[in-house]
């Protein structure tokens, strides 16, 4: 399936993480799915078991957003918030991001771009940190709340690494 296979996570520079994916919908629809809280809370959930009890989005320059995820079975909660810096509907959003649990005191800057290609939409999120250390620290501390299962075997680790590290 071309949509699933189009998914890539990369580290284009020492200070960035980039996620890209193709979707089977025009960019106006994908933009809505990323910016309307009643839609965001239906999909931005990670692996099964998580819900989004709080999803607030004030979509204007200077407006804030606030997400809280919860996993009842694990008894875990994770929060993230930020401020919109630039909104060009339905093509581009720039916003700050910060995880509640981050060990790193600064914000990161997210640039999300939607490009329509033959009725499909290519979405790319680039997260820019102040430094490589900030990137690795913030991302690790934010995501280590058990949102994923880990690999058990070295071979799986290595294939995951070679796909995504470089």
């Amino acid at each position: 399936m071309i949509y699933r296979e189009s998914f890539r996570v990369s580290t284009p520079t020492d200070r960035e993480i980039q996620v890209t994916r193709l979707f089977d919908a025009p960019h106006a629809l994908v933009f809505d799915a990323f910016t309307k809280p009643e839609l965001v809370r239906r999909w931005l959930l990670g692996p099964p078991g998580w819900t989004m009890p709080i999803c607030e989005i004030d979509l204007k320059v200077g407006g804030e957003y606030r997400y809280i995820w919860s996993n009842e079975a694990k008894g875990n909660e994770m929060g993230m918030s930020g401020v919109f810096r630039e909104i060009v509907s339905p093509k581009r959003i720039v916003a700050t991001e910060r995880f509640d649990e981050s060990w790193y005191p600064g914000d990161a800057l997210d640039t999300t771009v939607f490009v329509e290609e033959d009725g499909n939409t290519r979405m790319t999120i680039t997260v820019l940190y102040d430094s490589m250390e900030a990137r690795d620290t913030a991302r690790r501390s934010g995501m280590e709340r058990g949102m994923a299962s880990s690999y058990d075997r070295p071979e799986e680790l290595l294939s995951a690494m070679s796909e995504s590290v470089i």
Binding site: Y3, R4, F7, V9, I17, V19, R21, F23, D24, A25, L29, V30, A33, L39, R42, W43, L44, L45, G46, P47, P48, W103, M132, E133, D136, T137, R139, R140, M143, E144, M147, A148, S149, S150, Y151, P154, E155, L157, L158, A160, M161, S162, S164, V165, I166
Partner: protein
């Protein structure tokens, strides 16, 4: 911050791990060691580089704590030490898995929209067809 082996803090260790993994030859060496310990000569065999060059790569991997080398045996075989690898991999794996799962949910949601808009169009069509009577 919690200190782990070799006196590294967790993020420093992660930096050393990522730096060591940034080289394709070193990743290939780790891939070979995943199936069992090997000497420098055995590790050098598949590559078009010299044993001293392999030894340099092994030093980087050893410094990052990704391998352990036998100090006693003559051939000093290297073994994979997967703990730092697991920490580095978990970081990216969790990030990947979060987005991958979320995007699958989004595919389903966008599919629902398409169905709904198709039905609406059909509905309009029907209405339009009936209206002249």
């Amino acid at each position: 911050m919690k200190l782990i082996d070799n006196g590294y803090s967790a993020p420093d260790r992660l930096d050393a791990t990522f730096a060591a993994l940034a080289d394709p030859t070193r990743r290939a060496i780790l891939g070979r060691l995943a199936s069992g310990q090997a000497s420098v000569a055995e590790l050098a065999a598949p590559f078009a580089i010299t044993q001293p060059a392999i030894s340099k790569h092994l030093k980087v991997l050893e410094h990052a704590g990704l391998i352990a080398r036998d100090r006693v045996a003559q051939r000093r075989p290297s073994r994979l030490h997967a703990v730092p690898l697991a920490a580095a991999s978990q970081w990216l794996a969790e990030y990947r898995q979060f987005w991958e799962s979320s995007f699958r949910n989004l595919d389903a949601l966008l599919g629902e929209f398409k169905e709904t808009s198709k039905k609406k169009k059909k509905h309009k069509h029907k209405k339009h067809g009936r209206s002249p009577q």
